[in-house]
Amino acid sequence: MHELAITVIGPDRTGIVADVAEALAGVGANLTDSTMTRLRGHFAMTLICTGPTAAEAEKALESLAGVTTAVRQVSPEASGGGDGEAWVVSVHGADRLGIVAAVTREVAGAGGNITDLSTRLVGSLYVLIAEADLPAGAGDELAQHLAVAASELGVEVTLRRAEPEIL
């Protein structure tokens, strides 16, 4: 079974998600994990699907006007992934160059794997929220390193455990 990683990016418009999904369904693609968001008015979709070859998927997506697509064959995930402790990092402050690089480098330095990230620039306020899996017991030291990095950047940072809601 082919497993494909596909990205579709372009100006947002009504129906774009349906168009992408329909085009892929037309060549028998089964969407497994996918994410779609709007970034400053741009539609951005990343997905993994199984079924067609890369060439078949590329051809199907050619019918979509005005978007940039990339299709690549990938190997299936080796493990179930995600061990370690789940944490959330919040950063906010005046926008300046290098905030994401500095913060994510500290997380990596602590052996943390970022599992989800979003940033927003609204007016002059820059906000970064990252979820990370950290090795057990690594949180306190990372919090100290982040505090140093944040004060150098002139931004505020908090690191806290993500508590899953199990109902």
């Binding site: 400053r40 008015g41 919040s90 402050g93 609204v122 306020l125 929220i129 979820e131 505020e156 993500a162």
Partner: protein
Amino acid sequence: MTFPELPEGRVLPVVTAPATVLSTVGDEVDPTDPAVLQLAADLVATMKVSAGCVGLAAPQVGVGVQVFCVNVVGHPKAATVHGTFALCNAKIIEASRWKAGREGCMSVPDLTGDVKRAGRIVVEAVLPGTGEAVTITTDAFEARALQHEIDHCAGNLFLDKVAGAHAIYQRKVYL
């Protein structure tokens, strides 16, 4: 519980993030200081003229102290409601029934976020003017508003507590 009447307040400009005062731990105040009573009145006046505003803390008008007001009267998510009131030096002494909910902030006008808050709290504080010590037990939306304002007084924004990377939402669309 009845809260003492406040003097006539002035409407003050609200500061927005990134502003240092919003991320600075507020000082405790002397609640009997006439300037603190006036500040409480000004916060209420500013809250009242701001559409949809259910609470306002001193750092949001540029004053880094532990004073805030709330008013959730008529809010659909409110249960217990104490009316319009202002508190100084408030501390949460009990918190339970944690629940996620969406909230916004006049100092972060373009974003909202999902934040876990206690659905029932007990707060100890002193009243501006008289300095009378009060204990307030509340729940639901009033509890959320109090926690949000007490956070402001400690230099924290809802952004410091959002549930995850996809728990912030843009209010306006930038095209």
